[in-house]
């Protein structure tokens, strides 16, 4: 039993999506670690054939097999659970499906050689999605000795632009398979995905396009019909910590104010920086950096640019807040993501109640 309250108690399938370049795989992995800190094993699965998880955990490419890739840190004296990883591909999932339901494993193998499975998974768009989400649903429902094998399943899902279609498999296949086993399978998968056991988390940066895609994605999820699919948290990734305080910089930070290009080119400079330059010049001297007007001016320009960026980020943050989903902030990690960084991100997620 978990002794902590988290925002997602009762959720068993965490689908993680995000625009390209937002760090979706990293956040999914950190979330898996954070969830495993509750003591139960967690399955982290990827579905895009990218082997992103293997790269992240620095292990050889993952086969179609659940493998232990990490152990979550202990929490409150309780040992952490294992994180297993699985790279799902539609072909292997189809062979497994044929075996499970029709005892057709051998035939499946032979047909792979002929390219029939390739054919089947490609002529029926939506079929691959059913197989991939089906695998996630199966892992969620899998039991051993009466209790679930995994405490939670985290899916590194396709990007935001494709997520609702990816998850809304029933309608995707219904046009193709009106009856039959795939349809039945899709219906079972839907009962998991549309249950309170499943949420979709969005990874974003505080930039206009990823934020817009996040908001569009949340809207689309509630639009897929029959009560929609539940949106989860918004993970604001790669946050930088040292923004100037809002009140101080408000005057120089108004977006839309005309700025002039500095003579040295590159960075822009707002008229409000003259005062900052003076202040900085005095302070630089006090700090032992000598009398350097140009340096003071350049630092003032940099400060102004950062302030403008910060103001824009705050504006994006307000748009996210308006979506009404819990937001979590994850720090920018400049030295690249390794296991230590993942633990750090996982701890940050736990502190904020995401797991």
């Amino acid at each position: 039993m978990s002794v902590r309250d988290t925002d997602w108690d009762g959720v068993r399938l965490h689908v993680v999506t995000g625009k390209g370049g937002t760090g979706k795989t990293t956040v999914a992995a950190a979330l898996a670690l954070a969830l495993a800190s509750n003591g139960k094993p967690v399955l982290l699965m990827e579905v895009e054939g990218r082997q992103g998880i293997a790269q992240l955990f620095d292990v050889p490419p993952l086969p179609y097999e659940e493998r232990r890739v990490a152990v979550a840190p202990a929490d409150d004296g309780r040992p952490g659970g294992d994180v297993f990883a699985l790279a799902v591909d539609p072909q292997s999932a189809l062979i497994e499906y044929l075996e499970m339901f029709y005892n057709l494993r051998q035939a499946g193998r032979a047909l792979t050689k002929l390219g029939v499975l390739d054919f089947a998974t490609t002529i029926a768009p939506g079929l691959s999605d059913v197989l991939l989400t089906g695998k996630a649903a199966e892992a969620v429902r899998r039991k051993s000795g009466g209790s679930p094998v995994y405490g939670a399943v985290v899916m590194d899902a396709p990007p935001t632009g494709r997520i609702s279609r990816f998850l809304n498999v029933t309608s995707e296949v219904s046009g193709l398979a009106k009856v039959g086993p795939i349809r039945g399978h899709a219906d079972t998968v839907q009962s998991v995905i549309r249950s309170p056991q499943t949420v979709v988390h969005f990874v974003t940066l505080l930039e206009e396009m990823p934020v817009q895609e996040t908001l569009d994605g949340i809207a689309e999820l509630s639009d897929v019909g029959r009560g929609g699919i539940a949106a989860g948290g918004i993970m604001v990734n790669m946050m930088r910590s040292l923004w100037p305080p809002e009140h101080r910089r408000a005057s120089g930070a108004k977006p839309g104010r005309r700025s002039v290009r500095s003579a040295s080119g590159g960075e822009e400079r707002t008229p409000g920086t003259a005062h900052d330059t003076q202040v900085l010049e005095v302070a630089l001297k006090a700090a032992g950096l000598g009398e350097d007007h140009q340096l003071a001016a350049d630092l003032a320009a940099e400060l102004a640019a950062e302030a403008r960026a910060a103001a824009m980020q705050r504006a994006q943050r307000r748009r996210l807040d308006a979506a009404g989903q819990p937001c979590y902030e994850l720090p920018f990690i400049s030295d690249g993501i390794d296991l230590a960084a993942l633990y750090r991100l996982a701890a940050t997620l736990r502190e904020q109640g995401a797991a």
Binding site: P125, Q212, E267, L280
Partner: protein, 382 residues
């Protein structure tokens, strides 16, 4: 020893009249569309007659280029400065409508009755709107059409958003192979092929194959596919040929690839794969565009000295002015660390690909969604 790349001068590429096609590729989220638009604008303002083919632009960027819908029609872009005497260029932009492009191919290759039949087929409809690879195939098809039409002297292509930068090279051939495939016909119209010899070798009954396929996709879809195949019969062969044609077009003189990446580990790894692939396939790579690189106007003050100065100030009497300076110095140190880590990534790329020219495009303080913003990006092309 750190590796210094050859600088990639994009102006030289666009000023060279022999450059007829520029393909912008890279993994998702690196700013491909923006770079494609900026290259197009820059070229137009330097006298070229340009069309930019985009696949899925952000709404505001699309609007800034006068694009409001996916309609396959090149629209003139307003706000382009082409005033210089005699060398006035022009810029058009268009958004790919993949379904329409597919429909047009069908209409061009089948008699009207048959075309109607194909267009109404449910299998065709899902194939033309959601088959993985259709978008890539149609983007390449459109590129081929634009190139043949010869109305523009420079075509800038923004490749479809895909998880891997390589998809757009492989997907057209995959769709071509599929539509053209022996398997498709073997499975669905065995009588036409007059025999089952191919299958006998594999010792598998034909009934079993159709049986399994029916199990997987349902008999309804199988019937749709069968109707589709018989209607498309005359067109098979054409698809692979077209895919092959565009693939060759990509290798022809006059085509250049720009690989775009952000100064991030994943995007650069993807760029590496792509560069290697282009080399292997003999595709003309112009270079790497490292997009959204951070710089500091005060780069001569190192992160270490900046932090030390902030600490010194902290030890002095507190005042509002030193608070401002401490913030500025810390921010500067953070920025310098970021600059250094981005440059390390760039150096790592160049160490692995010493011959690939590189251009660095500074990060813009604002999101780019108007012509002026695109023009500012273009100033880094010198």
């Amino acid at each position: 020893m750190t590796a210094k790349p050859t600088p990639l001068v994009i102006d030289r590429l666009i000023d060279d009249r022999r450059t007829r096609v520029i393909v912008c590729c890279g993994s998702g989220g690196v700013g491909k569309t923006t770079i494609a638009a900026a290259v197009g604008l820059r070229a137009a303002e330097r006298g070229r007659h340009v069309v930019v083919l985009t696949v899925d632009p952000a709404r505001r960027l699309a609007q800034s280029m006068g694009l409001t819908s996916l309609d396959n029609t090149p629209r003139p872009v307003r706000g382009v400065r082409t005033g210089r005497a005699g060398d006035g260029g022009s810029m058009h932009a268009m958004m790919l409508d993949m379904k329409r492009t597919f429909d047009e191919i069908v209409e061009a290759h089948a008699d009207p009755d048959r075309a109607t039949q194909i267009l109404a087929n449910p299998f065709y409809q899902s194939l033309s709107s959601s088959f993985a690879g259709t978008q890539e195939y149609m983007a390449m098809e459109k590129l081929g059409q634009l190139r043949r039409a010869d109305e523009w002297d420079l075509i800038v292509v923004d490749t479809p958003p895909s998880r891997s930068a390589l998809d757009f090279l492989d997907a057209p051939a995959r769709l071509g192979r599929f539509l053209d495939g022996r398997l498709l016909r073997l499975l669905l119209a065995p009588a036409k092929l007059g025999g089952r010899t191919g299958l006998k070798v594999l010792n598998i009954g034909f009934g079993m194959i159709t049986g399994v396929v029916t199990k997987i996709i349902g008999s309804q879809l199988l019937r749709d596919v069968q109707t589709f195949v018989s209607a498309m019969d005359t067109m098979f062969g054409g698809f692979r040929e077209r895919a092959e044609y565009t693939y060759q077009l990509l290798r022809a003189p006059g085509t250049s690839f720009l690989v775009i990446a952000g100064p991030e580990h994943d995007a650069l790894r993807e760029a590496s794969y792509f560069v290697e692939r282009l080399e292997r396939d003999g595709m003309p790579l112009a270079g790497l565009i490292l997009n959204r690189v951070h710089r500091s106007p005060a780069a001569r003050l190192s992160a270490a000295r900046s932090l030390a100065a902030a600490e010194t100030l902290q030890g002095l009497a507190d005042s509002e002015s030193s608070a401002l300076a401490i913030t500025a110095l810390r921010l500067h140190a953070e920025r310098m660390r970021q600059v250094a880590s981005e440059q390390r990534l760039a150096e790592r790329f160049t160490a692995a690909h010493p011959l690939v020219p590189v251009a660095q495009i500074p990060a813009q303080p604002d999101d780019v969604h108007d012509i002026d913003g695109l023009r500012v990006i273009g100033t880094a092309f010198e």
